[in-house]
Assembly symmetry: C2
Homo-oligomer: 272 residues x 2
Amino acid sequence: MAATSWEDSVKSLKGVILDMCGVLYDAGEDGGTPIPGSVEAVKRLKASDLQVRFCTNETQATREVFVAKLQRMGFDICVSEVFSPAPAAVAVLKERGLRPHLLVYDGVVPEFDSVEKANPNCVVIGDAAEKFSYQNLNDAFRVLIGLENPVLFSLGRGKYYKEDEGLNLDVGVYMKALEYACDVEAEVIGKPDPMFFQKVLDDMGIQSHQILMIGDDLVNDVGGAQHCGMKGVQVRTGKYRPSDEKHPTVTADGYVDNLAEAVETILKLRGQ
Amino acid sequence: MAATSWEDSVKSLKGVILDMCGVLYDAGEDGGTPIPGSVEAVKRLKASDLQVRFCTNETQATREVFVAKLQRMGFDICVSEVFSPAPAAVAVLKERGLRPHLLVYDGVVPEFDSVEKANPNCVVIGDAAEKFSYQNLNDAFRVLIGLENPVLFSLGRGKYYKEDEGLNLDVGVYMKALEYACDVEAEVIGKPDPMFFQKVLDDMGIQSHQILMIGDDLVNDVGGAQHCGMKGVQVRTGKYRPSDEKHPTVTADGYVDNLAEAVETILKLRGQ
């Protein structure tokens, strides 16, 4: 395999950020299944001299529930290593004194327990999946259109993700719907928002050019990381599609078939 | 009342095109109710020397069923005077040999009876209302994303309309959702598409500058008509909102409180 730009930079790496769904596991109705080799790959990475963090736009469960699911799959992971949009949104809402109308999956509602929600003055949407009924979207629309200054937060801007049986629409699609309906631009909390990535960088305490992001979403993982000065590698698992490799605006620093191959390459080049 | 540009042009008018929902009647779960004065206004207009047509983005019923509903409300109207998106879409599908996956309201499905639908190679969405479930939108998305050249038709591009109890999301919102999900631009069949208005103009056989469009949708009725060289007046009924009068890109040629006032003004200025 010819050396590519990300392989050249592997020796100077100090940390790796991993996307979760589509990199560690494939989502499914039964909670999902690990992608072959990923459990072992995470273990090897955490045993190396590299810092490891997990950065997800997952908003269907609280971080605690979500991390417990990954642990049951065999992953060496804990809550403090995981960055997800809902806790970041709660911080923003409190800072700005905003009371959200929530259109989110039931499982993530407890993340918002500490936030005042009566008489809402903004809308927060997450990956609500089948909760994105016409009625629920219309209810969120009516809150927004009734506000003098409509404020819409979207927990990520993903287009779709892969579950066992195929591709499923993600929150970004409904964000676009409400943006158009109300002539408003959503504030995105989650990848690829630079503010969101910055929280992970702050926690790692290292420079962005010393960090590699590995994800299956070309725009939100790879493009978002590159925008912050990191390297970004796309795995050919999860929602990866061959057309990603000819994307008009985002070019990954490298491609690997899966996380196992990425970690094997990284550790080999670092002589570990 | 000061003379405005549309009033100056009233004497040279040869025809009037009326939007339906929000101008003739207000939609509602019980089928809707006539807007006060509109039944009489249509009668007076049709008794004048002006040609009258009806142009709607209504896609919840076949034209036959829809017109029968208006007749029951007391309106003097017949099917041949009404232009709606579904029959126009059927013509386009047949012309281009396309087989649609339909995401439309049950009531309009019979309009597509004569179109081959097996093994779909395009998607047609209409105002599907509560049929816009997550599952149904995802099904349409999967058809589109699976096509080498995704083709999406949207029966109108409206943002919302008014029903008894408030504003409801319209087809344009879901068009934007699928456009974003699949990186595709929808082909709009219905107002404000110029091709759609042209069918009405062809039927009337008069020049566009001799025609006045009266509607409650600033962008789709008024803006669409103006784009084709007609005058466009907005009624302050239906989905009208005061902020329309300060819209950044579309300025109506005039405002009236309702259709009755528009017709009263037109006939008075023409000495009828």
